[in-house]
C-alpha cells in the first residue's frame, strides 16, 4: 500500500481538517495504514467511523471549535474546501476565514507544522499552461471565487511561515479517485446517460491529473519534511500531479472503458465547429435568458478549457519533498471505477435487503 515505504512517526499527533472529505479521509486512512496511532479529524460532518480515530465535529469559521480539536496536536493537515459550483460567500467563509482561523489556532496552541491543500488553479485563469512550475505567478484576475479564495488562503498560509511555525502548500491538479464526486462521478454519469460519444478536437491537448492516494502521500511526506529545518520545504508551495500528463480525452476514454461503455468518443467534432456551436448555443441562451434560465453543457468557456494544454512541471516536489507518484494513472483509474461499481453494488444489495424486510 502507498505510504508504507516511510516509517511511521508515532511521536507525531496528527489532525486532519476536512478529514471526512474525499481527500482528507484518504489522508487519514493512509496515516492509519502506515501505523500512526495518534490521528484525529476535524470536519463539519462525520461521514465514517473508525475506532482508531478521534473525531471532532465543528465549524471551521468558529475558532473555539478549532482550538478544542487542535489541543495537544503536533501537526495540522488542512484539506477542507467546499466543492465547485457553490455561492462565492461559502468559499470566502471556508477557504479564507476558515484558513485564517486554522493559522491563528495553530499559533495560539504552539503547533509548529501545517500542510495546506491549495490548488493548481491559483495560477490558472483560462490560459494554456505547458510545463508550468512554481515560478508561474498567481493570476491577477481569477476565473471564479473558488480559485480566488484558494489563492488568498495559500498566500496567508505562506506568509505565516516562520522558524517556529513551518508551513507547506500543495497544489494538486484534477484530483480523482474512489469517492470522488466531481471528476470520476461526472464522467460515469456522462457515460451512463449515453453522452460519451462526442469528442471535441483531435485529442492533441494534454492535461494533468492526480490520483488521490498520491496526493495524500504528498501531504504526509510534506509534514515529515517540515521537521527538518534544512529541507527547504517550509514556506513553499508545490504543484502535485501524477507526473504523467496525458491526452485529455484518453483519460475519459479509459474511465468509460473501465465502466464497460463501448465505442465511446466515436464522433469527433473539429474544434472550430464546437466553438461555433457553443457560440450559437450561448447566443440563444442569452436571448432566452429573460424568459428562461438555461445551463447548457456546451459553453464557450468549457470548449476553451478543453482545447488548451494544461500541464505542470513538478520537479520542485520531486526534489524537495522526494515526491513520486506511486500509483500510475492507469492503475488509479482502474481502482476508482472499481470502487464506484462496488459501491453501487453494495447500495443496490442494501436496497434489495430493505425491501425484503418490508
Amino acid at each position: 500500500m502507498v505510504g508504507l515505504t516511510t516509517p511511521p512517526q508515532q511521536t507525531e499527533s496528527w489532525i486532519v481538517v476536512g478529514g471526512c472529505g474525499f481527500l482528507g479521509r484518504r489522508i487519514v486512512e493512509m496515516l492509519l495504514e502506515r501505523g500512526e496511532t495518534n490521528v484525529a479529524v476535524f470536519d463539519i460532518r462525520k461521514t465514517f467511523d473508525d475506532a482508531r480515530v478521534q473525531f471532532f465535529t465543528g465549524d471551521i469559521s468558529n475558532a473555539a471549535d478549532l482550538e478544542r480539536a487542535f489541543e495537544g496536536r503536533s501537526v495540522v493537515v488542512h484539506s477542507a474546501s467546499p466543492p465547485h459550483g457553490l455561492d462565492a460567500k461559502v468559499y470566502f467563509a471556508v477557504n479564507v476565514d476558515g484558513t485564517r482561523n486554522v493559522i491563528q489556532s495553530c499559533k495560539n496552541l504552539g503547533i509548529q507544522k501545517l500542510v495546506y491543500t491549495s490548488s493548481a488553479s491559483v495560477s490558472f485563469n483560462g490560459q494554456s499552461l505547458e510545463e508550468a512550475d512554481e515560478t508561474t505567478p498567481y493570476c491577477e484576475k481569477h476565473l471564479d471565487a473558488y480559485n480566488e479564495t484558494k489563492a488568498l488562503a495559500e498566500k496567508m498560509v505562506l506568509e505565516a511561515n516562520s522558524p517556529s511555525f513551518r508551513v507547506a502548500c500543495l497544489r494538486p491538479s484534477a484530483i480523482f479517485g474512489p469517492r470522488d464526486m466531481q471528476c470520476i462521478r461526472t464522467m460515469l454519469d456522462v457515460a451512463r446517460t449515453g453522452k460519451s460519444k462526442v469528442q471535441i478536437g483531435d485529442n492533441s491537448v494534454i492535461f494533468d491529473y492526480t490520483y488521490v492516494d498520491n496526493l495524500a502521500d504528498a501531504h504526509i511526506i510534506a509534514a515529515e519534511k517540515l521537521n527538518d529545518p534544512n529541507s527547504g520545504v517550509a514556506g513553499q508551495a508545490f504543484f502535485i500531479t501524477n507526473d504523467s500528463p496525458v491526452f485529455f480525452w484518453d483519460f475519459a476514454k479509459m474511465v468509460f472503458d473501465e465502466d464497460g461503455a463501448k465505442n465511446t468518443l466515436s464522433t469527433v467534432l473539429p474544434t472550430w465547429f464546437a466553438i461555433g456551436l457553443a457560440f450559437i448555443v450561448e447566443f440563444f441562451v442569452l436571448l432566452l435568458s429573460p424568459i428562461k434560465k438555461i445551463h447548457p453543457t456546451l459553453t464557450l468557456f468549457r470548449v476553451r478549457i478543453i482545447t488548451q494544454n494544461k500541464y505542470h512541471n513538478i520537479d520542485k516536489a520531486k526534489k524537495l519533498l522526494g515526491y513520486k507518484a506511486k500509483v500510475s494513472l492507469g492503475e488509479g483509474i482502474k481502482r476508482s471505477v472499481k470502487w464506484f461499481k462496488e459501491e453501487e453494488a453494495r447500495i443496490a444489495a442494501a436496497n434489495k435487503e430493505s425491501k425484503k424486510q418490508q
Binding site: 478536437g201 485529442n203 492533441s204 479509459m254 466553438i275
Partner: protein, 420 residues
C-alpha cells in the same frame, strides 16, 4: 525502382511524388558498387579498397549504405571502417574472435574463412584485409574512435547475455558515431559528453528492429524479445514461440504493444539528441533511421501481421517521403509529432478490444511526452504554433460575431422595409 512501390503508394500522392523525385534526382557514385563487377579499380590501389568497402557495405547492409551516402564526404569515408553484423557462427569460435576484434583491425592482411557458405557476410570476412587497409588509411583520430567502440562492443559480449548483444551494440554505434561527428569537427565536442542520449538513439532503432524480426528470428533460432516482458504473456512452461500461435493472439498483441511503448519512451531523447546537431548532412544521416523507426512503430503497433506473416516494412513510397522530410530538424520534429498523434489515435481506437492489454494509458503517456518535448522545444526557440486552439478560438469568435451581426442587421432591415 520497382513499379510495385509506386502502386503501393497509389493512394498516397505525396509518396508518389517523393518516389519520382528520388528516382530522378539521386545520382550516387557510391551506390554503384553493388556488384563485384562494378568495382573497376585495380587491386592494391587506394581506389580499389575504397570501392570494395562500399561494395561490402552494400552487400551486408543495403539500407545502411543509403544512409551513409547522405553524410558529409569527410565522414562518409571513415564510416566504412565501422561495419558490424551478427555472424552466424558457433559461440565458441565467435566470442574469442570478437573479443580481439579491436586488435585485428590493425592486422594488415587478416581474413577469416570459417563462415558458412550461405552467410550474407561471408564475403566480407573472407576479404576483410581490404577493410583493414581502408581502416589504416583513415585519419588517426578516426581510427582511435572506431577501435575504441569495437573494443567496447566486444566487452559487452563477454559480460552480457548473448541475447542482449544487438541491443547494446546499437547504443554503442550511436556513441561511436557521435565520436566521429565530433572529431571530424562537424559537430561540437560537447556532443560526445552525453553518452546517455547517444545510447538512446541506438536503442530506439534496435528495439524497433527486434520487434520487426520476431518471426524471422524465431525461425532462425534467435530470441531478442526481453523475457521480462514476454514471460508475462505466456504460460510458465512456454517460450517466446508461444506468441506465434493463433490462439494466443491477444497475448501476443499485448506483448508487442508493451514493447512499442517501451520503444516509444525513447523518442523524446532521440529528438533531444538530434536537436543538438548542426551539420545538415549529419542531421540527415541521423534522422533517416529515426523517422523510419517511429513510422515503423505506427505500423507494428497492435498489428497481428508481426506474428502471422512477419516481414512488415513501411511502404517504399512512404520511406522515400520520410527521407526527404528528415533533411532538417524541423522536418524530423514534424514527423515525430505526426506519428505520436497517429499512434495515440490508433491507441485510443482499439481500447476495450483486448482484455490482456494494459498498454493503453502508458502508450498515451509516452505519445504525449513526444508532444510535450516538441511544445517545450518550440517555446524555447520562440516558435509559436501555427494554429493553437487559442488563436483559432479568437479568430472564430470574431467571424461568428460578424455573421450573427449581419443576420440581425438584415432582419431589422427587412422589418424596417416591410413597415414602409
Amino acid at each position: 525502382m520497382a513499379t510495385a512501390a509506386l502502386l503501393a503508394s497509389i493512394g498516397h500522392p505525396s509518396e508518389v511524388y517523393a518516389l519520382l523525385k528520388y528516382k530522378f534526382t539521386t545520382s550516387d557514385a557510391v551506390t554503384k558498387y553493388t556488384t563485384r563487377e562494378s568495382v573497376t579499380a585495380k587491386k592494391g590501389t587506394p581506389e580499389y579498397t575504397y570501392q570494395m568497402c562500399y561494395y561490402f557495405l552494400n552487400k551486408t547492409s543495403r539500407s545502411f549504405a543509403r544512409v551513409i551516402q547522405e553524410l558529409h564526404p569527410e565522414l562518409a569515408h571513415p564510416r566504412l571502417g565501422h561495419n558490424r553484423r551478427r555472424y552466424d557462427l558457433s559461440n565458441d569460435r565467435k566470442l574469442p574472435l570478437l573479443r580481439t576484434f579491436d586488435t585485428i583491425m590493425y592486422k594488415k592482411g587478416w581474413t577469416f574463412n570459417e563462415n558458412g557458405p550461405n552467410e550474407k557476410d561471408r564475403i566480407l570476412m573472407v576479404e576483410f584485409d581490404v577493410v583493414i587497409d581502408q581502416f589504416l588509411r583513415l585519419k588517426e583520430s578516426y581510427q582511435t574512435v572506431i577501435a575504441d567502440v569495437t573494443r567496447r562492443m566486444v566487452t559487452v559480449v563477454t559480460i552480457a547475455d548473448y541475447d542482449l548483444y544487438t541491443h547494446y551494440v546499437a547504443g554503442l554505434v550511436g556513441i561511436g558515431l557521435t565520436g566521429l561527428f565530433s572529431v571530424s569537427g562537424l559537430e561540437d565536442a560537447s556532443l560526445t559528453k552525453d553518452e546517455y542520449l547517444q545510447n538512446r538513439m541506438g536503442l530506439f532503432l534496435q528495439k524497433v528492429n527486434i520487434m520487426k524480426d520476431y518471426l524471422e528470428d524465431l525461425n532462425e533460432g534467435r530470441q531478442f524479445w526481453p523475457e521480462e516482458v514476454w514471460s508475462k504473456y505466456v504460460w510458465e512452461n512456454q517460450g517466446l514461440d508461444a506468441l506465434a500461435k493463433p490462439e494466443n493472439l491477444n497475448d501476443a498483441l499485448a506483448c508487442l504493444n508493451e514493447l512499442c511503448v517501451n520503444a516509444m519512451e525513447l523518442a523524446p531523447d532521440c529528438l533531444e539528441y538530434m536537436s543538438k546537431l548542426k551539420e545538415p548532412s549529419v542531421i540527415h544521416f541521423c534522422a533517416i533511421p529515426q523517422v523510419m523507426a517511429i513510422a515503423s512503430i505506427a505500423l507494428f503497433f497492435n498489428n497481428s501481421v508481426v506474428f502471422t506473416k512477419g516481414g512488415l516494412k513501411i511502404r517504399r513510397g512512404l520511406a522515400v517521403k520520410l527521407i526527404y522530410e528528415g533533411t532538417t530538424f524541423e522536418g524530423v520534429k514534424n514527423v515525430f509529432k505526426r506519428y505520436a498523434l497517429e499512434i495515440a489515435k490508433q491507441n485510443s481506437k482499439r481500447v476495450g478490444t483486448n482484455p490482456k492489454d494494459e498498454s493503453f494509458m502508458p502508450m498515451s503517456i509516452a505519445c504525449s511526452k513526444v508532444i510535450r518535448w516538441i511544445n517545450a522545444h518550440d517555446k524555447k526557440m520562440g516558435i509559436v504554433p501555427k494554429s493553437s486552439g487559442e488563436q483559432v478560438f479568437e479568430y472564430l469568435i470574431v467571424a461568428v460575431n460578424f455573421v450573427l451581426l449581419a443576420l440581425i442587421v438584415q432582419h431589422f432591415y427587412n422589418a424596417y422595409n416591410s413597415l414602409n
